[in-house]
Symmetry: D2
Subunit: 464 residues, 4 copies
């Protein structure tokens, strides 16, 4: 990587540090930083937490701590998190005392007082540190990045998981959807913002600036949620194509040589990619809102739009199919003739094994083979998507997301994504989930209560 690229990659970190140095210089009349020795970390944090609201000296100390954090390596960060987890947790004695008072309370007044006290006791003092850090310039971004650093350590460490819960709860309230702005992203958006889209697009890689531009054409739309304190950073974004009919092939959709459609001639909006950009906001509900907010917005702008649907992968299909347990599923679903055919084609006397062997070849380039595999794979995929559950939820994570959201499965598309990744994950199959505003609540409720997966008649045809 060139020196200049390097600068770019580190931008956020450097930018924050630069802002802080300037603020510190303004507060203290000099830029010099106290070094924070690890054995004094606890004392330092305590000092920041107890500073009066808005105290400039407290602010300066918070900057010193933040600067120190930015310089820490992973081990030091872990040490820092452990200190927060251990030394600045809620006081168990206070929690217990408040709990006892609540149990003992008989009068409403007492009960309310005790309940509020218990809530207060459950709020760890470290939350005040997070608040103080958030008051720094760019403090918002710092906390999000800090949580991204913390998350990998939370597995198997209950106290760090609790620390993470505190941070997440705080961020969740600051990033409540009611506080975010839906912003349309276009080719007139800042280059630095589009660069971030290219970096964060998680579903169908944006290969070049040309590709980026094609995705922002007159028959394309892109929307993101933004927070006013992070103006150039989409927290999550969705890419939409305006088309005629339900699009069933991602390569066609992304083909830069296709003639653009006049937006007012389109009857369908296809949501073909949705990506989060901030690891530090994971677990905070944003995606659920984004699709529906965009449906509302597009529906209001373009009267010709009648249908809103996704074009989505089935990312767990091939993994599920590869499980030996699916040998039985296969024989249960496919007809005898289909099984025999698979065995013949694969030259293998076990249908499941044969199928898996065939799927390891470049089968989709062989027309005859592809034709032979269509029925079996579509049936198996329908079985996987519609009938395969875990704990009452769809096994496929994308299906689970859209069902929770109140969509229904509209269509299963054959050879819809023939990219290497699409073949490897989903055997090239993609799905349309349809968002019908009038049915969202009912679909959601059926899925939430009974795990019921709504399907169109067309999709259901592939069920045995």
């Amino acid at each position: 990587m060139s020196a200049r690229k390097q600068e770019s990659a580190d931008t956020s970190h450097h930018y924050t540090a630069k802002l802080w140095r300037q603020t510190l210089a303004a507060l203290r009349g000099r830029e010099r930083l106290a070094v924070i020795r690890s054995e004094r970390l606890t004392q330092r944090i305590a000092g920041i937490i107890s500073a009066p609201d808005g105290d400039p000296a407290g602010k300066a100390r918070a900057i010193e701590l933040g600067m120190a954090y930015l310089e820490m390596d992973d081990a030091a960060k872990l040490q820092f998190f452990r200190t927060l987890a251990k030394e600045f947790d809620a006081d168990p004695a206070a929690v217990e005392a408040a709990g006892r008072r609540l149990t003992a309370a008989t009068e409403p007044e007492e009960r309310v007082a005790a309940e509020l006290e218990l809530r207060q006791a459950l709020l760890p003092p470290r939350v005040e540190l997070f608040r103080q850090l958030n008051l720094l310039p760019d403090g918002f971004r710092f906390l999000i990045n800090m949580r991204a650093d913390l998350l990998p350590h939370t597995r198997g460490d209950a106290s760090l998981r609790k620390l993470d819960e505190d941070l997440k709860t705080l961020l969740a309230s600051w990033f409540d959807v009611g506080l975010l702005n839906l912003v349309e992203i276009t080719w007139d958006s800042p280059a630095s913002l589009l660069e971030k889209l290219m970096e964060y697009e998680a579903v169908h890689e944006i290969r070049s600036w040309d590709d980026m531009k094609h995705r922002l054409y007159s028959d394309r739309r892109c929307f993101g949620f933004f927070h006013s304190k992070l103006p150039n950073t989409p927290l999550i974004f969705v890419e939409v194509a305006l088309v005629n009919g339900m699009a069933g092939n991602i390569q066609k959709l992304l083909d830069p040589s296709a003639l653009p459609l006049r937006p007012e001639d389109a009857d369908t909006a296809i949501f073909y990619s949705i990506s989060n950009t901030q690891k530090g906001l994971s677990g905070i509900r944003l995606g659920n809102f984004l699709i529906k907010t965009v449906v509302e917005k597009l529906g209001g702008e373009l009267n010709s739009l009648k249908n809103f649907a996704t074009l989505s992968p089935a990312p767990g299909f091939m993994n599920w199919l590869a499980d030996p347990a699916q040998s039985q599923t296969l024989t249960g679903i496919l007809s005898e003739k289909e099984c025999t055919s698979l065995m013949d084609l694969a030259n293998n006397n076990r249908a499941h094994e044969g199928l898996l062997a065939l799927l390891r070849t470049r089968w989709h380039e062989d027309r005859k083979l592809a034709r032979a595999l269509k029925e079996p794979l579509m049936k198996l995929c329908a079985e996987y998507i519609i009938r395969t559950k875990r704990n009452g939820h769809a096994l496929d994570p994308v299906t689970h997301f859209h069902m929770t959201n109140g969509a229904r499965l509209e269509r299963i598309n054959w050879l819809a994504d023939t990219s290497p990744n699409g073949m490897r994950q989903s055997a090239g199959i993609m799905l349309n989930y349809k968002y019908d505003p009038a049915s969202i609540a009912a679909n959601h409720a059926k899925y939430a209560t009974r795990g019921y997966i709504g399907t169109s008649r067309e999709a259901r045809q592939w069920l045995a």
Copy 2:
């Protein structure tokens, strides 16, 4: 009030209702509203709470509820609050169960799980209703106004106070100072915004647009905290005068005929008024931050500024002095000669009674009388401000506010506010509280731990 003025006064209410009607029309294709009968209120609220994230049908129902609220009279609102308080409170059984699990927990994993569960159990379902309302256009303002409606009912009603706590906690996180913007308000600000300042100025009434303009002159400053979702509404604002030396007289400060000072010639910034505008945000810490943030900003902009201080009333002084108990205080503090003098002047053989009688006259217009009262009143005021406490806090609320903030008492000013209000509350006395960035933390700590009120030598001279 003219019809047109009326329109203006109701703006916020009408504006919100208009936005909602439009949104509803867009969501449903028609504007018609279902009427919500009070016996179905509980069911309605439950339906909104259980709607999936971003569900347009849920949003429409939330609008219907909000519209119904806007039309309610006080009694109906109280009924609505009681429903929320009673039917959508935290489940005591769940709280108890989680509490028991926490007590029983032995392993860290268990303990953390139980603690998180307890926190969750303590979160009433009505909070989800507030979140859904906040998603509506102008929902933010609606919730603030709703809390303003609720507050008068919380006295003596524990369950409503708890409901208020829930709303306050939510608003406090959304209005965290880290999420607000400090904005300078000038004569180039929108007239509608300045009109709000004129309406909300709580300390020294803004009498006319001319007066408003004078307060925004080249040697004046005005700053407010704003939330990006309420762009034209200062949540709190402070008015500042740039002067030479510590200003000790509010009438001189506000005199429109005085020659303006060149800002770069001023050595002192006087904060002479600070006002909250939203009852619905009461109890949420904003003022503590505002003064210090403005000190930081002005200090960075104008190098000539050396001192930052307030010119504040002593709003509780006259009330305190009127208490018969102060008869003893008076004789303890004043010299015998002073007491005799008071008795002579008042023609009353009790000094305290005599003083109070004199204070009911237009004494400050009588030069000789005023001269005679100066020493006694300044001493008594010093006693009131510096030595009179309740529960370890300064009795005077303004003193308490600035001490908590880390200021110190700099000067007591004689005949500093001769307006009727100033004479009635503070016998015309005003105080300078000085903000020295380097001493804020220490001042705050001394006051917080020992109730110690920092004073300058000049202020202390009035103590016996």
Copy 3:
């Protein structure tokens, strides 16, 4: 005037000077200004004119000249204008030479060259000075104000009138309507901007901020043309009321106690006031465009609007009527009975004299008298407006303006403006001029070629 008001009144002058001092300090490293002695003025101007494009030293000298101008009294300014007029005019010899070459030219090439040369020769060198001044910060405003200073001197002084032509031509190209922005002015506009409206409203005085606010209500509109280099300064603005039917009374229109109409219920937009703000732009066509641009805009926004009309005074009516020559007009138009009645009412045996005497009383407060005067005055006003011409143009300046614009006279309104000014100028009569987009070109053409004044049947009824 208080010191602070004074500051405000001088704002523009001081503001410009302040900007220039700063720029000069940045250019030269110090603020010191050379004093320009009047005997060196010519040399100074020549130096600025000959500086290379964008030369910082030339810019500094231009600032010095500008600063000197700001300090000049009227006599010195006149001296300055005379210098420009005399020393920096087009060179007559060069003009003559080019003229001869043009006359002598036979080939197209020669002819074109000579014509361009002639054009060049006619362009005085002072125009380059104006360009250099325009490059200064706020230079735009400076030039406009300079022309406002110049205008009073141009009467009777041909060389100053020519100087003014140069400046006007330059300003006219810079303020070409194609370069201006139509901006809606609302109660959310900056207070400093609204203050300017209050200052510049030329037709119906805005009496207070309350009055200002009423004129920006939900059923009112205000639009102005702005130049991007003078962002807070409307060059011209128009006030509009949305009403039902053709409004015929200005007091009713401006009554703050009237209930506001829902804009979507209005069928007529009444333009009741149009005011220029910059004397320095007089003679530059703006008003012609403003009304029609606003008609186009409002028509696009509010489908319910069917009619666009003004409510205008007849400012020359009373003056015209007072002319003894109108004695004959009166007897020609009024019936014998009407004349007799006037003589009786006035107790004067000359009808014209009698009428004038009556009009000097508070006649409109006397119901009977008012009723008796209606027919005669309406007929006379119709005669004045529709039939009275000078050089083929309507004598009344407002009528001339709207006829040139392509409007037609729609209605003559009795007791439509009973303010002292309205009574004195127009005997309380006001007129509606209607703008029908489809007829503008035809109306304009008829008036331009034949002086024909388009009228509705209703207006024509008052003609004899």
Copy 4:
């Protein structure tokens, strides 16, 4: 080119047409366009010119004409231009009459009147058409593009050249530098704007988005002049590198792997590229201002900057050198030894011929050869740049530009641009022209009056 790229290339044309269709639909209630037959062109234009100010019908007809123009092929456009040139030129009879009146005038009043009349007579009626077109949405861009279409036809056609003069004069007044904004272009600028920079960079091609980003790094600057009516279109832009010492090699300057410098550590700003973007604005002075405005701006922002200079090609050097006439120059300048050496190296007994032959090889990759050629080529280049004139101006166009601007020649750099283009045009030599604010006026004057080319001692050393 893909269909989508195509869309992009045509954007401006299509965008304008789309806007116009919408406006027309709004004006007329339908989108239908009258077709303009060429034989009625004159009549159509006359109709537009005579429409009253702001007439909606006139506006609609102007749109029809504009739409027709957008559809015209080159031949039809030429026809259109010829119509404007012939039918809508100034009236020669009126010019002559006014000329006669001017000659005959004796009194100042008469003289001024005649002169103004002459000016008016010289103003062709087609200028009013341009003004009407400029009133259309996007009309500004339309006129600029129209002039770009016109320019190629003006050679050898006097009447079209005169038409062009009219358009240029109008555009020059609308694009007067005093009306433009200097805007800094950064990586946060709209992608669509940066795309235009990539398209228009005329000096050192921007090869990719990565290259673009490097040119906007922390130690780079880019500024452009913008007009408020063309917000996303830089009219001209300049690229600057902040460096230490006078940069003498363009490849090093553009090397993306070089470590970026902290801006506050740079002592020199190098202007390494300046590009116009609008052919339709050619001949309008912008570049002269841009460099000096940026010098002023950067000087004010970064105190460490001491020098401002360009790194420029000598685009005419190799052409000049190739002229057989330079055989004599060469022998006049080079020492005998140098001539002999050239003959030896080239194996050619004529030094000039030999040199030219050597320059056709990849000589700069041969260290020894390059060393041998350095002295002769540097001397010849100095001769070319400093001493070679035509009509008293520097022959090299870049030298002429910077001398007119008031710069001086600071250094001649060997092997400073080894790109194919750099070798072909300038034998790899580049020049630094230095802008010293204090000397600009003097440098400019010496060059303007005497053709004197200012040089540093270092540059002069290469002169014989």
